[in-house]
Point group: C2
Chain length 471, copies 2
């Protein structure tokens, strides 16, 4: 098909989609409105980043679907297959380094008609959602790898890195299996003015602050690389309480439910619930055979209907004939007691480099979750963990696929992984469509607002794509 | 004494010094001219950064002595005692983090009337030596911690960081004592146009490139965090040879003598000599009881008169009653064979955090070397290692004093350590003068040009001070 014809069909599709969404907004569309505040990673406790467009002309444009690419500082062309320094670092390490130190690691935040994104290159961006134009850019001292939290006219972002000092290596050589501090260079949580990007305060810590914060009842919470959970006053950055958890949190963005703050930690590999008001540890649950940064890398997801926390973890690492393999465990835990309800292993596969597990999404009694070691997306019954369907993600890439959460809209699951966007039938797991973007998606979840899909990329791009082009 | 009187006396001193230096330049002054190219760390193989001022009006000003402070990007006030995030990090960690991730780590380079400096914040600066005005600033992807090498109209700088990935920690937990790769984020060596700062090429590597390169016979050499010695074509950045040494080089800037390139490596803790042309390992010498990053952190110094390499190392680490202590070893090794000529222990003291040893300077048959664990400066007979004198550096600071090389001028040793500049009688070790600067000097060696002392600071400052004010 010639390009002109494809463009024509595409325009027709976009127009049709716009019509569909107008009617959908009138009643049939299932997506809730954009949350205010944007309190947790992904915009809600289920990590399902699907929202209706706001009222007004900007909302109308987002409902129709907009398309733009915004290059962050240090962005590299999307067509470079391995990322920066590919020749020097090789196909296994190069994409990981680019994901950890160059572009955006996770999803965006959308509040009103503004897209907020963080980048490893040490910036927080506010972009016009309709045009992709930069409204402001604020600086952080180290990689900003989270989902910006926006509340009360402030944008909160943490920064840090994945490194360990030589003294931590010496501790490890001496046999230490717990109590390591993660984070080499500057680590801090920042508050910026949501309108101007002006830094309001900065709270420095010993270990990295890579995971996203969470917000409730005028308090900002985060778990970090020095093994603590912190509760800060969002106006001043002064701590209300600090609780020593042990272990370290890497990318396990906290979640909040029933006045408890949840986060995963590594070494010991525990899922921990802390009382929102007092900071007391309500419960901590250990899982057998958890491997590597299994718990500390994945954000817990709330299954509110079943009063449980869903946590994904790397499990049962083995080395057979020089080849490392892992399994991926999905765990459902009672939100009040920490008691394990069920556990499901998704299958053994090659050990991916760096971040090895994934973030689950829960909707209507189903847990959607991927396994990077097998590059499969699965749907599990939230009550039993039974597998409803499981599908192989096409276009495999060396470092494994399916680390970010999927997003549901009108019977379709949207996924951003590897160099592609995917649309899956949520009922059957059948692939409906794939769209090549290039570069590599980190632990990125698509954020859908009206008829537009927003996503960030490890190569340093913030991307707006009409939903009609993906589905 | 009122400030006005002090100023008056100071002016008189500067004027007197100017007179003294004019006459000194006429014959008595011992310093050689500024080197072209600036081929090794400190400007010469003895690491004695003392030079006559160049001809012309700029040289005349430097001969009289100039005074300025240049703030690098992210510079913090010199009066902040612990550095950035002092409250969060505490007195032992805060100065280390600021030294590793904010300001300048080692000395400057001076070519003609231009001062070149690197900074941890990822920049290389060219400043007018007389005024401190910025001529250009170039960006590096990670901390630039070395002494810029300038040759053939190009400025060479390496960048990297001190970190280890989690997979390296797991290797250490598994018992690995060797073969670790140092360097977490981007690592590369850069060439910039000396006049404009324009990037000419960038050579990426797996491990960090923190130590300074060295240059000879139209080749650029460096040793790095992935345990290799590299020889690059300075025009293109293409490798001529790459030799696997094992271990990792942290801050051991290479040195060149008799067609061999020397550098220290950690794990195994060896001093290594590589043939300049072929890249073959000429010899490698292990020392008993070397501890921590003992060998890989310190730049070897050439004692040309005695055909030997002087290397300082952390030695004999112990932990008694929870208190860690180390000794500092000074080793003289035959430059051709690697055979140890003598070894001197400088005395046991508290283990400093991070960088624990020092860089020696050799002049007229005497090795000048400090021991950060005891905060003492010593003079050793270069032929025997016998201690000629040893003096305590005043104004102790938590992280230990005396890591950078001292600089000799007209019977006086100049030293930059802690928050102070010191002038010592080179013959007797008697303290002549100290001058408070503030902040903290890293592994910084003073560079003296005519009557001006140039030095960089971990708080992010490049400093020019009339020699007359220090002595």
């Amino acid at each position: 098909m010639p390009v002109s014809s494809r463009r024509l069909l595409y325009s027709i599709a976009v127009a049709a989609a716009a019509v569909a969404f107008v009617s959908a907004d009138a009643g049939a569309e299932s997506a809730p409105p954009l949350p205010v505040p944007w309190a947790v990673y992904g915009g809600n406790v289920a990590h399902d980043s699907s929202f209706g467009a706001p009222a007004g002309p900007s909302g109308d444009a987002l409902r129709r679907g907009v398309s733009w690419r915004f290059p962050e500082a240090n962005a590299i062309p999307l067509g470079v297959p391995l990322g920066k320094d590919g020749a020097a670092l090789g196909p296994r390490s190069a994409p990981v380094k680019t994901t950890q130190f160059l572009g955006s690691a996770v999803g965006v935040t959308v509040v009103g008609s503004v897209v907020y994104a963080e980048s490893d290159s040490g910036y927080v961006y506010a972009l016009d959602a309709v045009t992709g134009r930069q409204l402001w850019r604020a600086h952080t001292d180290n990689a900003a790898m989270g989902d910006p939290i926006v509340a009360g006219g402030r944008v909160f972002a943490g920064s840090g890195d994945t490194g360990f000092s030589f003294s931590q290596v010496l501790r490890a050589q001496g046999g230490a299996k717990t109590g390591l501090v993660r984070g080499l260079s500057w680590a801090a949580v920042y508050a910026f003015d949501a309108k101007t990007g002006k830094e309001l305060w900065r709270y420095g810590t010993k270990g990295e602050d890579m995971s996203s914060e969470c917000y409730a009842h005028n308090t900002l919470y985060f778990a970090n690389g020095d093994g603590h959970m912190y509760a800060l006053d969002p106006a001043t950055g002064k701590p209300k309480w600090i609780t020593d958890i042990g272990g370290f949190d890497s990318m396990s963005s906290c979640n909040i439910f029933h006045h408890k703050v949840y986060a995963g930690f590594t070494d010991p590999n525990d899922l921990v619930a802390v009382d929102e008001t007092s900071g007391a540890i309500a419960w901590r649950t250990s899982f057998p055979n958890v491997a590597n940064t299994g718990m500390g890398d994945n954000s817990p997801t709330i299954d509110a209907a079943d009063n449980q926390v869903i946590q994904v973890s790397v499990a049962d690492a083995r080395k057979t004939g020089g080849k490392a393999s892992v399994d991926t465990a999905v765990l459902a835990v009672n939100a009040d007691t920490g008691k394990i309800q069920w556990k499901r292993l998704l299958g053994r596969g090659d050990s991916p480099p760096a971040y090895k597990a994934s973030v689950a999404m829960v909707r209507n009694g189903i847990v959607y979750v991927s396994s990077p070691s097998t590059s499969r997306l699965s749907a599990l019954d939230a009550k039993t963990g039974n597998v409803l369907w499981s599908s192989t993600i096409p276009h495999p890439s060396v470092p494994g696929l399916g680390r970010g959460a999927v997003t549901y809209r009108d019977g379709t699951l949207y996924q951003s992984t590897g160099a592609w966007l995917y649309a899956w039938d949520a009922k059957t797991g059948k692939l409906r469509h794939d769209l090549y973007i290039g570069g590599r998606f980190g632990i990125a979840n698509p954020v859908i607002v009206g008829g537009t899909l927003f996503v960030t990329n490890s190569w340093g791009w913030v991307i707006a794509e009409p939903l009609a082009a993906v589905r």
